[in-house]
């Protein structure tokens, strides 16, 4: 049998708690570990107040676990400092959609993608990253929809497209503005919708006026005629879907990117109707749900504003503790607060920021500076290696009951199929044990009891009993009552003739172009962008467990033109250097790359630590880092690949280079 070369490191499950003693982690009993976890938190709060505590909740755990985690932060500790790696991917989608429409979810459903006339996928490669969503796209294409793909790379998704718009990295706003301007100048805007349902149109028209087709071509690299076609096709389509993923959101100005796309839907009325809408595709199984449950610093469960006293009052009545009337720190701010010495204790559940945050060195140093770090995970991750207490958890998706919420806002039941390994405990059980030690006698509730508490506090989840979720294959939010279901798309109110029903108009986002922070120059002439491949996932902790025949390890994708210019052969190991770090990586020559553009994943951090190259410039509104645009140089290091044993190639990026 041919076995794929094992590029990943597979982890064993954690089955014993670990505590740090004389600088080393050693096994401990659950009692000791829980006592130490609680004592560290208590001490931090006593000395520095509740806002010196931070909670990183898990976008892969259940809604129920996320609800309990944010409740732990708000009730047991008394802070709003709770966030998740939601921040590293799709917080801008939530922020952008909420700013326009008042709620932070995608507006359409997968089935509507099958029943539309134009599908625009902007900054995403769902053929690889969301394969089953892409099956719905292909159904739509086979039903006659046109498919346009906007992406710097000619991705496997783009291979299916009627048109591919290969723009320069970080020029999404100029492209979107030029599309908007062209729609306006061609008289194709939906004037009655703009007038009735939106605000800020005059400013928007002035904002996009400078972005002529020629100006946009110069900035984006997309031919003027293609931009014109995108504008006309989108505006003329009876129904159109605009979908995006991390190509839009992993930028320093990500929320602005999202707003610039939403603007196009407002201009044409492609929102709030069956088959017309906006779809941010979420990268982790419960990113949507984690935010919906209030495991974010500025919202309570059901996406309710934490600054609203009435909202807080309804939670305070049930929880019996006052909630701070200010937003907590988001993930990015928490890391900054660690450096400034304001955040002293951190409770990390199922997250691996050492490997998922940009600039690994900086993240590690900040975590080391904490007084007390508790990590609860199923593996001893790089982050767990830094902890004072490590608590072995169960795997949410198959070892616990609960619910996840997907990218189309569908809440679905998660069911326990396996017993966790002996010694590992359920996330919620662990949190309850720590809460009890901190003076809040939390009995371990059943998942359904937690869910019923969510339903009692969150109007948009109210109608979703477990029985109903089982019966209906999940339910999309909002669902206000047990007797009814809402349409599969959001914001139909915007089409109402009655101003009262129509409610608040959706504002155009007045956002300007801001090129990538990491500038290209003679020393760093190549634009490095990052993403996922089909068979691997994030930092590889999960996918490292199975032997994928497709896996080739970390590679630097580059264009045949650049390879020829640099004299690089396919498979040859090259040195990639950014202003922050340097790695060695085998080159892969592919026509999906345009000259000047190179691509890596971050699936194989033990082989090649891509995050040494990326930049942590962050979006000021949502706090997402600019993973998608680093400036790098590429050098041959010779000798030729044939003279090198594969094992040496793999071991090459050793500590000395870091």
């Amino acid at each position: 049998m041919r076995r794929s070369e094992d590029f990943s490191t597979s982890y064993d499950r954690l089955t014993r708690p670990l505590v740090r003693e004389h600088g080393e982690l050693r096994p401990a009993t659950w009692e000791e570990a829980l006592d130490r976890a609680a004592a560290g938190f208590r001490q931090g709060v006593d000395r520095h107040g509740p806002n010196s505590f931070g909670m990183l909740s898990c976008a892969r755990a259940t809604n129920e676990m996320n609800f309990v985690a944010q409740k732990f932060a708000r009730v047991v500790v008394g802070t709003n400092n709770v966030d998740s790696c939601n921040r590293t991917c799709h917080a801008p989608s939530v922020a952008g959609l909420a700013a326009a429409f008042g709620s932070g979810g995608g507006t359409s459903s997968y089935s509507e993608v099958e029943d539309t006339d134009l599908i625009v996928i902007w900054g995403g490669n769902p053929r690889f990253a969301h394969p089953i969503f892409f099956q719905h796209v292909l159904k739509g294409v086979r039903n006659g929809a046109k498919l346009f793909v906007v992406d710097p790379r000619r991705t496997p998704t783009a291979e299916w497209a009627d048109r591919w718009f290969g723009l320069n990295v970080g020029t999404d706003i100029p492209l979107a503005h030029a599309v908007g301007r062209e729609i306006l100048h061609a008289g194709l805007a939906n004037e009655s919708f703009v007038e009735r349902a939106t605000s800020g149109f005059d400013e928007y028209r002035a904002l996009v006026e400078p972005w002529t087709l020629a100006a946009a071509e110069a900035e984006t690299g997309v031919p003027a005629e293609a931009i014109r076609e995108l504008a006309h096709t989108y505006a003329r389509a009876e129904r159109a879907q605009l979908c995006w993923t991390l190509g839009i959101t992993e930028h320093h100005n990500a929320t602005d990117n999202v707003r610039s796309l939403i603007n196009l839907s407002l201009l044409t009325g492609h929102v709030g109707r069956h088959g017309s809408g906006l779809n941010p595709l979420r990268g982790q199984n419960n990113v949507q749900g984690g935010g919906d449950m209030g495991a974010i610093p500025d919202r309570l469960a059901g996406f309710q504003d934490i600054l609203d006293a009435e909202v807080r009052a309804s939670f305070e009545r049930v929880w019996g503790r006052e909630i701070q009337d200010r937003k907590g720190l988001n993930l990015t701010q928490m890391f900054e607060a660690m450096e400034e010495g304001e955040l002293k204790t951190l409770y990390v559940i199922g997250e691996n920021p050492v490997q998922s945050e940009p600039e690994t060195h900086k993240t590690t140093a900040r975590l080391r500076a904490l007084d007390h770090l508790v990590v609860q995970d199923i593996f001893l991750t790089r982050t767990a290696e830094l902890a004072d207490v490590v608590l072995p958890a169960s795997a949410a998706w198959c070892e616990s009951d609960g619910t996840f919420t997907n990218s189309e806002r569908r809440v679905q039941l998660v069911r326990k199929a396996l017993e966790p390994p002996e010694g590992a405990r359920d996330d919620i059980e662990i949190m309850c044990a720590i809460a009890t030690r901190l003076g809040h006698e939390w009995e371990r509730p059943a998942a359904e009891e937690i869910w019923d508490e969510v339903r009692s506090l969150s109007p948009m989840h109210r109608g979703m009993s477990y029985a109903r979720l089982a019966e209906l294959d999940g339910i999309q939010w909002p669902c206000y009552s047990e007797d009814s279901l809402e349409p599969s798309y959001l914001h139909s109110r915007l089409w109402s003739k009655d101003p009262e029903e129509r409610g608040a108009p959706a504002p155009f986002g007045i956002v300007g172009h801001s090129p990538p922070v990491d500038l290209l120059d003679e020393d760093f002439p190549f634009r490095l962008t990052t993403g996922r491949r089909l068979d691997d996932y994030n930092t590889g902790v999960q996918t490292g467990g199975f032997s994928s025949p497709l896996r080739r390890g970390e590679l630097l994708d580059l264009s045949p033109e650049d390879a020829a210019k640099l004299g690089i052969e396919d498979g040859e190991t090259v040195r990639v250097t950014s202003r922050r770090g340097s790695v060695l990586v085998p080159a892969s020559i592919t026509e999906s790359m345009r000259p000047g553009l190179v691509f890596m994943t971050f699936h194989f951090p033990h082989q090649v630590d891509t995050q040494l190259l990326t930049i942590d410039a962050t979006d000021p509104i949502a706090g997402t880092a600019e993973y998608k645009a680093a400036a790098v140089q590429i050098e041959r290091i010779g000798p030729r690949p044939g003279q090198q044993a594969p094992s040496e190639r793999r071991d090459a990026p050793d500590e000395a280079l870091r």
Partner: protein
Amino acid sequence: MTTPVLLPTPRRLIDATIDGETVRVPEGTTVLEACESVGTEVPTLCYGDTLTPRNACRVCVVEVEGARTLAPACSRKLEAGMSVATDSERVRHSRKMVLELLGSSVDLSTTPKVPEWMERYEAEPERFGPRAEPAALGVRDARRAGEHEPGDGAVAETVEQPAKVDNDLYVRDYSKCIMCYKCVDACGDQWQNSFAIGVAGRGFDARISTEHDVELPDSACVYCGNCIEVCPTGALSFATEFDMRKAGTWDEEKQTETTTVCTYCGVGCNVTLHVQENEIVKVSSPHDNPVTHGNLCIKGRFGFQHVQRRGGG
């Protein structure tokens, strides 16, 4: 607030008879669906609830009064006034023949319900004689159309050959293949659109093949396993199932099936975990799920090993 509600196109109800009993179903219902609605069992092999009927296996044929030929129940639509017999002499004879021809040439040991059907239709596959020796690996794949030599009748021709094990995730055991085309359709334009497999050869030499019969890792296969999901005979199976069957440890009676949600991206695919002795041995997806329609990707289908690395730590 008023919002438009989408309703399916209304369908007229029609009356017809199945085995003498009147049924009333919406227009467009297939004979198979109508039979299921009144509890009449019709055997099927190539029919797939998520696929367009291929009419390949002919085991579901029924007799439509007035029709010259038997009709496949899976694709024939019921019409007003139609009279259908599902257990007539002609139907029984035809199903018996289909089962005998398949049973004599294909390994049906992992095809559900076959022994029951064999008994019901009094099929005797062994009457074609002892089974011929299996072909060596690659021999059937090398056969060219028009070069097939008919046997002498002393042994029953067979499609048996060694299983193809060329990757760690799933096994292709074409001794069990009845050429129903479902894997080809799932891989092709009906779902996955990868087009990694197709039908090569003609007549008895026809077989499922990758392009130029390359091994899977060199083909267009993306290991979604959506072919395994639809395979009716077990010709395509998880490597775990294949290995456990070989070791004699595969025991469906000891297995639980629990449907949960995939742990990877945010699409929210429903995965059914088949668990034996606290180990995931196979993953499928509900065919009626609105997110997946029974389809998964490589991560959802095969990316479960990390949770059961319980070696220590």
